[in-house]
């Protein structure tokens, strides 16, 4: 096992990793920008190194400085968290080359899964269901038209290097395809430096279902059930839950099997998340593999009892999986609400000093946050300041617990999305589980 790990991140996920390391008896090194010199994740670690100014490109994403910090502190491994360098295949490759273990999949895994069209191809070749679409990257408008006519309109054009909704275009009829293709290419080029695009059937009210997997160096893979992340605003997840209210045991077995086969097909190792789209007819389609620990990993931990970060560290250290598929038992139901430092109606960022911070407590309530009274929410990074997670015997109990916990959560001095979450919890459609990825748009405009 590693003796010392550098945590190349900040905020709640840095603290989450440091906590796991402490419980494993591993020493930790925090890195920080000048804006985070007094942050909780820095104080929680055994050592700390300032790696640059506030801007993340010059600090948390500054590969030479992060690696130098790892060298001067003599760590065995680097945990990248999520965001920042976590899906940077080049960073993972450099770590490998200098003998510092990157806690995540191999650089090849990251590179392969980072190419969305390629990942689809691998999975489709294995005979697994992918969203109907172009077989690979589209070379021309003609290519696009042919593919679209084969699968039927509406279709969505996506960047192969994409993510976060950029480079995407929904096309409803053939005559709009040419212009959309060119626009998507241009946007993909300017955003990702790569004009590769592909095309898929566009589903109107799908659910976002993802499956957590664990894979060891010996090729053994288990899945830990699904997460339903359909409550999104502009492709940003806001509320997640497990089990999904629409996934029954049969569907869970099927989708789990497909997720396991998909990562096996890609010779994927470490933790990962296989994302699916579930349509109204309960057909599911592979979308992509996320090669990092996810923001919403805690809800899976709550129902399985498995500490995903510890498992990730053990896998990276070469340990075989400590669990078999039949050992994975999902108990109860778990919800997560992402608390962002934003205006709950306009979603404008709300940085500033948290004058009072008092988290909820008691049975079935978990808070993952690096905030406390007096903390400063700086404007340079992601606006998520806390994850509120509840666990109950069933969905009804975990919702009741979430409502009660949201009512207890006091964050003063800045605006947060807590009021929005309380409204979502009160929504009859949400309570019945009748949601899709379009729920929040209708909810906000309605």
């Amino acid at each position: 096992m590693f003796k010392k790990v550098l945590v190349a991140n900040r905020g709640e996920i840095a603290l989450r990793v440091i906590r796991a390391c402490k419980e494993l008896g591993i020493k930790t090194v925090a890195i920080h920008s000048e804006a985070d010199a007094l942050a909780l994740h820095v104080r929680a670690a055994d050592e700390k190194v300032c790696v640059g100014p506030a801007e993340s490109a010059l600090s948390y994403r500054n590969i030479p400085n992060v690696l130098s910090a790892a060298e001067i502190t003599g760590v065995d491994a680097i945990h990248p968290g999520y965001g920042f360098l976590s899906e940077n295949a080049h960073f993972a490759e450099v770590c490998e080359s200098i003998g510092i273990k990157f806690i995540g999949p191999s650089s090849e895994n990251i590179a392969m899964m980072g190419d969305k069209a390629k990942a689809r191809e691998i999975v489709a070749k294995r005979g697994l269901p992918v969203t109907p679409g172009s077989p690979g990257e589209l070379r021309s408008e003609e290519d696009a038209l042919q593919a679209a006519q084969k699968i039927g309109f509406p279709v969505i054009i996506k960047a192969t290097a994409g993510g976060g909704g950029r480079g995407m275009r929904v096309v409803n009829k053939a005559e709009d395809l040419g212009r959309a293709f060119q626009a998507a290419q241009a946007e993909a080029k300017s955003t990702f430096g790569n004009d590769g695009v592909y095309l898929e059937r566009y589903f109107l009210e799908p659910r976002h279902i993802e499956v957590q997997i664990l894979a060891d160096q010996h090729g053994r893979v288990v899945h830990l059930g699904e997460r339903d992340c359909s409550i999104q605003r502009r492709h940003q997840k806001l509320v997640e839950e497990t089990p999904s209210p629409v996934v029954d045991d049969k569907l869970r077995r099927e989708i789990g099997r497909v997720a396991v086969e998909a990562v096996k097909a890609a010779h994927y190792r470490n933790v990962g998340t296989v994302e699916f789209l579930l349509d109204k007819d309960r057909q599911f389609y592979f979308m992509e593999v996320n090669t990092r620990i996810q923001v919403e990993h805690p809800i899976t931990e709550m129902v399985t009892g498995i500490d995903l970060i510890k498992e990730q560290i053990r896998l990276a250290a070469g340990h075989p999986l400590s669990i078999r598929q039949q050992d994975v038992i999902l108990t109860g139901h778990s919800l997560e609400c992402r608390i962002n430092a934003e205006d709950p109606e306009k979603f404008t960022p709300s940085p500033g000093v948290i004058t009072k911070y008092s988290p909820p407590g008691g049975f079935g309530v978990r808070v993952d946050s690096a905030m406390e009274s007096g903390s400063v929410v700086v404007p340079y990074y992601d606006s998520m300041i806390a994850k509120l997670i509840t666990h109950g015997r069933d969905r009804q109990e975990s919702m009741a617990r979430m409502k009660r916990a949201l009512g207890e959560f006091i964050i003063e001095g800045i605006k947060t999305t807590i009021p929005l979450h309380r409204r979502i919890l009160d929504d009859p459609d949400f309570q019945k589980g009748h949601v899709s990825t379009t729920f929040l748009d209708r909810f906000l405009t309605g």
């Binding site: 000048e34 804006a35 985070d36 010199a37 007094l38 942050a39 909780l40 190194v49 300032c50 790696v51 640059g52 100014p53 506030a54 801007e55 490109a57 010059l58 600090s59 500054n62 590969i63 030479p64 400085n65 992060v66 690696l67 130098s68 910090a69 060298e71 001067i72 502190t73 490759e93 450099v94 080359s97 200098i98 003998g99 000093v353 406390e372 007096g374 903390s375 400063v376 700086v378 404007p379």
Partner: protein, 187 residues
């Protein structure tokens, strides 16, 4: 602002694949409007409130504004209301590697990268510079080794080296103070 040059290390024990550190715009960023404004607010606060010292400390931000009594004769009392500029605000988004301290007039040379500090080009060589010596703008003061690349840190002012703040072979973090230079003592 000091400059650094990357030179290959003599001891290449590990193969490395790295983007050239010199290409990174590490020291190109300027002081952000946000933090400059906050500092100005503190200065105004100090001026308005007739204080000698004002310290502002919050998670993620630590700013200290202090008036050094020794720097100039005082008008009336210790409660002089004229503030001095802030001493190297830690929250500054600028990767400035030289900061002038108005109370002493000294320039602080800080490390623009994370790495290991060496006072000489090789273990058996003489140090680049000693305390009390004169330095010229562009003169190499030390090396900070990062990922087996030797980055030479140059002075960007003429002056006298007042103080070496870090021992040779010790590791340094981004923004860590390395030297104090007195530019008024330029020969």
């Amino acid at each position: 602002m000091s400059r650094r040059r990357s030179v290959p290390s003599k001891s290449r024990t590990r193969r490395i694949v790295l983007p050239d550190a010199g290409d990174e715009p590490v020291h190109e960023a300027s002081l952000t409007g946000g933090s400059a404004k906050q500092i100005q607010e503190l200065i105004d606060l100090l001026r308005q409130n007739n204080l000698t010292e004002l310290e502002f400390e919050r998670q993620g931000i630590r700013i200290r504004v202090r008036h050094e009594l020794l720097a100039r004769p005082l008008a009336t009392s210790a409660q002089d209301s004229v503030p001095t500029p802030p001493q190297q605000p830690m929250h500054s988004a600028s990767a400035a590697t030289s900061v002038s301290d108005a109370s002493t007039g000294f320039v602080t040379v800080t490390s623009p990268i994370v790495g290991t500090f060496y006072r000489s080009p090789s273990p058996d060589a003489d140090p680049y510079v000693e305390e009390g010596e004169s330095v010229k703008k562009g003169q190499v003061l030390c090396i900070v080794e990062a990922m087996k690349l030797m980055n030479e840190i140059e002075s960007e002012v003429d002056g006298r080296l007042v103080k070496i703040l870090v021992e040779s072979t010790k590791s340094v973090e981004y923004g860590q103070a390395l030297f104090l230079i007195d530019p008024k003592a330029a020969s």
